[in-house]
Symmetry: C2
Subunit: 392 residues, 2 copies
């Protein structure tokens, strides 16, 4: 076993390059989080003054954070999970029986499917408008819910909408979704992995039953952590305490929440999420500015021959997918094939697009300065021109 | 919302005090891990060069780490989970049907119960010898397994042994346990939360089917992370890929492992576990030294009037529980009641015993220098003498 490979694990990317990977932009730590990380890096660091339940720890202020985070989201109760996927799985595990159906949008992240599968459920999708906008037809939740109920005699156990999807960055109509679900009597889960920590979610009306988010994707926190927020009426079911009792020992743990497996996220992730929280509360107020920046980025990218932004127009989120047929043609004749674009960008100090990929690319300029976005655009323009693609 | 409380989250405990909390000693980061933490603190930091599966990432060397960790444990396949509890839950979720039985020792951690409950199973306990040694009667796994089979017609879905329990720090006979399970045809899971990263587990014979450990409890890593190791024959069942397919989108994810919810631990925890790995591989070789130190600690503590070490004698693990009736009597008349002991220790630079608790106390001197252990002992002796307890 060659242990030397573990002796100096470094990451040069964030120091040397501008990273436009959409899954990474919202999880860049704040300086405050970096400091907290050094304080609370050790395993069970936050448990110094624990009296039995992680979410009730007063120092550091974890109990208070749960309250403030619920207020920030306009929800009643919050738990920190090991990621958005664990939050979805907890809800599905609590609400679904074997063979139940979850209705979800056809842009839903793969973790919606694996979480449902783990909980013994299947998924029925709600269509989208297809190329080029791929907008989820939120109205059709009503039809799909009815179909499931007609076929099975029971309504779906849960309906889920991906607030902003990870493929096109479309912002779906959450309020319409919740209205439909409420009318049909189906619990509504809004997957906010790409919106929580970017946008102000506190004014949704009506509120979803569950709101799920990601700390490492959207709240400037270490992985792995996520948020499960819910309306009060679900607390008893989804956060039920353990009911097993040791037949020999007589032990029981009624305060340990089964779907959370007792305590969840102990150290670095929850502390960085807390340390970044004041910044996150502030940054959601500047969301319009991010959208403006994204639209400028799209406009400049579309000056390149053949480049077209996919998904809804105009953009209402920073995650952008482009068709890039010009770059794809270049790749076909390039000795480095599809890798040429990644490598040319890297030479110019830009990383984060999928290596090898030129047919379409995904990028985000979230949190970058205007100067950095200009640098990214200049890099793309230069590469286009170098390879004979027109920049209008 | 008063956000100021999140602006300077500090932890003085590790800088100013010697911490003897048993859940924390094995999770103290190495200097190498602290450095890696700064490199990889950002959310999805390890995903810079991901091609779709976390455990196959080459840079940082996550794929290789999975191989090396399996070798270190003497097992075939390894996955990193969000903690030992998630590893147990993954196995139970894969192996248990609703109403199934898991047979576990009567010292099993509460997370064994909540994981079973989440998976729809119940737990039947194997007795221990009771006060004062509380040794699990490993022989009796055979009887309990037979009883479950007689009652239900089916054998238990899983048997679990806590290698070292969190209450008394007893080291259970893992090999005898596995032999019984193999003979009975029941899969055997060894919960190594308190042994993995402390002791060399590579030579167990026969091997358990599953071995579960904790990164933040035993491998000098950030929370939350754990290890699920298994014999090859279980890979197909426990790490099965997703089989759902989007009925509208046609999407499917056969390579995403359902029980892992796809990818698991992305950033700080896995990177710190890797960065600490060379140190961990080294430190398990010095385990005898830790046991020697613990036995000296016990001997010195038992010089205090009334103090008696609970659990097996002599100690074979650093987690120690003491009966401390003398301190308990002092507490009854002390204005600070049970908190006096915690506060007197803190005055002397020692923390980590449960505040308010004087009837029994738990402590560990794992990883402390001899001088530090002497300091801890001196603190206890001084407090004893100050309150009129004899130190022989």
């Amino acid at each position: 076993m060659n242990l030397d490979r573990y002796r100096n694990i470094v990451r040069e990317t964030e120091r040397k390059y501008i990273n436009v990977n959409p899954i990474q932009r919202g999880g860049v730590l704040t300086p405050e989080a970096r400091k907290a990380l050094l304080e609370f890096g050790d395993g069970y660091s936050v448990c110094d003054f624990c009296e039995g339940l992680l979410h009730e720890i007063e120092k550091p202020p974890i109990r208070q954070f749960h309250e403030d985070l619920a207020e920030f989201l306009g929800m009643d109760v919050v738990r920190i999970t090991a990621g958005a996927r664990y939050a979805k799985e907890a809800v599905m595990s609590a609400l679904c029986e074997e063979g139940d159906v979850v209705v979800a949008d056809s842009l839903a992240h793969y973790t919606t499917f694996v979480a449902a599968e783990k909980a013994g459920a299947t998924v029925r999708e709600v269509p989208n408008t297809g190329h080029p906008e791929y907008k989820v037809k939120v109205d059709e939740y009503a039809r799909v819910i009815d179909e499931v109920e007609d076929e099975r005699g029971d309504p779906p156990a849960l309906a889920l909408l991906t607030h902003v999807d990870s493929e096109y960055g479309n912002l779906a109509d959450a309020e319409k979704f919740v209205k439909i679900c409420r009318k049909k009597g189906v619990p509504a889960l809004l997957n906010c992995a790409y919106t929580m920590g970017r946008m102000d979610l506190s004014n949704l009306s009506p509120k979803p039953d569950f709101m799920v988010g990601s700390g490492h994707k959207g709240m400037a926190a270490c992985a792995p952590c996520g948020v499960l927020a819910m309306r009060e009426e679900w607390e008893e079911e989804v956060l039920r305490g353990s009911s097993l009792r040791g037949d020999v020992s007589g032990r029981e743990w009624p305060h340990k929440e089964v779907e959370m497996l007792g305590c969840t996220v102990m150290g670095a992730p929850i502390v960085t999420m807390m340390a970044s929280f004041p910044h996150v509360v502030e940054r959601v107020k500047r969301w319009k500015e991010e959208v403006r920046k994204t639209r400028w980025f799209v406009k400049e990218m579309e000056r390149i021959e053949g480049v077209r932004q996919l998904g809804e127009r105009p953009k209402r989120h920073d995650l952008v997918k482009f068709e890039t047929p010009g770059f794809h043609e270049v790749a076909e004749d390039h000795p480095r094939r599809g890798y040429f674009l990644y490598e040319e960008l890297k030479k110019r100090g830009v990383i984060g697009i999928q290596p090898g990929q030129t047919e379409t690319i995904k990028a985000s300029v979230y949190g970058l300065t205007d100067e950095q976005v200009e640098h990214v655009v200049r890099a793309f323009h230069e590469i286009a021109e170098e390879y004979g693609l027109e920049v209008s």
